[in-house]
């Protein structure tokens, strides 16, 4: 998809480059020919159809045998299951031969089918031979099979299937083993010390991430990063108690952790070492960081219910936040950032100043948590910092021609303005006036923000931009 977009952009820009004498017509034609060969619209169709076919065939085989299961002798069932899996791998192996290079997409789909059949065999064999174990373990063994497969025969779809299974296993084992039947409900995870911080998932996720990085699989890298985010959120909220103070503590930790990951990826060495994961990690950490930041600008995020007396935040959370803040500060000021262009020095300095102020305010907010009347100054400070932070983010995205950053900036800006309005004016204005003014704010603000966003996008895309470029 990206190559197609790049080609269409090239086709728009090239005439101007020829006109300027920067490239020749022959050069242009050679580039187009090369790009078109690479884009080649139908490249992914065999794989897509093959994958769909593999999934359908897998479901068909499973449901056929499920329907006729009791009539088939036990050993015959075992032979059928193993035979189906081996046949799938055998045909894949045959299609992988050098003489059949054109059929490698089907071969990949057949390996995927083999892994699906392996998973269904786990459960059917368990049923046939009355093997009862902790139910999520079956899914774990399936995920591990997919992992071995993705490692030995690099097929991205198998890795994605394995990651989805790993997510299912972890959530069933950790949270909801009991939802399937109440016999499992009564059993906690068999892994030691995994009750709150579910560490086994990180091992499996790490193994998939290793394969994704090795194979430069971007989609798998994105899925893995989302898995890491989901695990982090579940873990933090699992540790926290259901109080406003602990909610605020989780937000502080989330903000600082996201910030650390983002900073880490800004350094030269990390950027180079994590080629495949650099984009998903930095983008997801940017979003998660701003979600926490945004939540800290609300009354609930400041741990205060209607400006009442807050619960204590606890020494453990305070120490954790202080340590994270110290790391973030050290990273911000001591580590060498990626080469900053001279024209962007001022922008980098402003960014550093906003980040420093945010870290300091976060620590101060937690340390002074029990001080009476802390909430209102903290509320104002976080709102002001988020406002400056978003302006900086949009400006930074604009100067780096990074649409994603600009869009994130505008979305959070709109969200912040609306929340501020609902959070504060609800108490100050007459109800009917509140709704009328809110309506006007939504209409006018929405129009204004979208116009500004499109203007920035237009400026980034250049004078020949089409409508699609400014979305």
């Amino acid at each position: 998809m990206w190559e197609k977009l790049f080609l269409s952009k090239l086709q728009r820009e090239a005439p101007r480059w020829i006109e300027q004498g920067w490239i020749t017509t022959e050069g242009q034609n050679a580039v187009f020919a090369d790009m078109e060969a690479r884009v080649g619209g139908t490249k992914h169709i065999p794989l897509a159809f093959g994958t769909l076919g593999a999934v359908l065939l897998g479901i068909g085989i499973i449901s056929f045998f499920a329907a006729n299961w009791p009539e088939i002798p036990k050993l015959a069932r075992l032979a059928i299951l193993l035979g189906a899996m081996w046949s799938s791998f055998f045909v894949a192996s045959w299609l992988y031969s050098p003489r059949r290079a054109d059929e490698s997409s089907i071969a990949k789909a057949l390996v995927l089918l083999g892994v699906i059949l392996y998973g269904s065999s786990i459960f059917l064999i368990a049923q046939t031979f009355h093997i009862q174990a902790h139910f999520p373990n079956g899914i774990l063994f399936w995920a591990l099979g997919a992992l071995i497969s993705a490692y030995l025969i690099p097929i991205q779809m198998v890795a994605v299937l394995g990651l989805a299974l790993a997510g299912l296993w972890a959530s069933m084992d950790h949270f909801s083993a009991g939802l399937l039947n109440d016999f499992n409900a009564t059993l906690p995870t068999p892994f030691p010390y995994a009750g709150i911080v579910y560490w086994p998932f990180i091992l499996v996720l790490g193994a998939f991430a290793f394969v994704a990085e090795k194979q430069s699989w971007r989609f798998t890298a994105w899925v893995s990063t989302f898995g890491l985010l989901a695990w982090s959120v579940a873990t933090l909220f699992g540790i926290a108690e259901a109080t406003y103070a602990h909610f605020a503590a989780v937000l502080h930790v989330g903000l600082l952790l996201s910030f650390l990951v983002f900073l880490f990826l800004m350094t030269e060495t990390a950027g180079r070492a994590l080629d495949t994961f650099a984009a998903p990690l930095s983008r997801i950490s940017l979003i998660s960081g701003f979600i926490c930041f945004y939540a800290l600008t609300t009354r609930a995020g400041q741990g205060v219910d209607d400006w009442g007396v807050p619960d204590p935040i606890g020494l453990d959370w305070t120490v954790a936040i202080a340590i994270l803040a110290a790391f973030a500060m050290a990273y911000l000021w001591l580590r060498s950032a990626r080469q900053v262009r001279p024209s962007m020095q001022k922008q980098a300095t402003v960014g550093k100043a906003i980040a420093t102020a945010t870290i300091l305010i976060s620590v101060a907010n937690v340390l002074l948590w029990d001080v009476p009347d802390r909430a209102i100054p903290a509320y104002i400070a976080f709102n002001a910092l988020l406002f400056f932070g978003l302006i900086w983010l949009i400006f930074s995205g604009y100067t780096n021609s990074d649409r994603f950053t600009v869009n994130v900036g505008f979305i959070f800006f709109a969200l912040t303005v609306l929340t501020l309005y609902f959070d504060t004016f609800w108490l100050l204005l007459d109800r009917s006036f509140f709704f009328m003014a809110g309506g006007l704010l939504l209409l006018g603000g929405g129009y204004f923000l979208e116009r500004q966003r499109r203007r920035v996008m237009q400026a980034m895309a250049g004078p020949t931009a089409t409508n699609r470029d400014v979305i």
Partner: protein, 178 residues
């Protein structure tokens, strides 16, 4: 053989080993284990995910902590010493680690699923038994005229497997490899 083909064979081999391992461990328990008969209280019916099965609750599924020592929590591994007897095996003691037992006694391994009041609830992994569709009802209704019991094999590691389900002392379903 080209490299990719070798890798596919390795993959198929590893996955097959896992699947056969599942069957192998089960058969090991059945073929080497000592057999005892357990008294059961069969209960309910059906799972959408796993076809028809009967669910057994044994008299050893709930042990009173007043009679058996050990401080157990949910999720703990528990070893129950059984005294084979006629007609049923009876529990002697519970342990957190593998216990030393007399020659005629057996040890069955389970996991603690709950600790309501002075009771330890235990799961041994022999609570579900898959049966052909529609045949579950007769096993569920255990009563004076339809007495259901289970013969269980217990291997030297404490693993257990249902060897047969008996109705009025006659095997109704037997576990075989074929």
């Amino acid at each position: 053989m080209p490299r990719i083909q070798i890798r596919i064979v390795i993959l198929a081999g590893v996955l097959t080993a896992v699947l056969l391992g599942m069957v192998g461990i089960k058969q090991y328990t059945l073929s080497t284990g000592s057999v005892v008969e357990l008294e059961i209280k069969p209960i309910d019916p059906r799972s959408l995910f796993r076809g028809d099965f009967v669910r057994f609750r044994f008299t050893i599924s709930e042990l009173s902590t007043g009679e058996y020592f050990g401080d157990f929590r949910r999720g703990d591994t528990i070893y129950v010493v059984l005294e084979p007897g006629t007609p049923f095996a009876t529990p002697v003691s519970t342990h957190k680690d593998w216990p030393k037992v007399a020659n005629d006694q057996l040890v069955i391994k389970g996991r603690v699923t709950g600790r309501p009041h002075n009771i330890v609830r235990i799961r041994y992994g022999i609570e579900n038994f898959f049966i052909p569709e529609g045949e579950g009802r007769s096993l569920e209704r255990s009563g004076p005229e339809n007495k259901v019991t289970v013969r269980v094999a217990i291997d030297r590691f404490g693993r257990s497997a249902i060897e047969s389900v008996l109705v009025n002392g006659e095997p109704r379903h037997s576990e075989t490899l074929f």
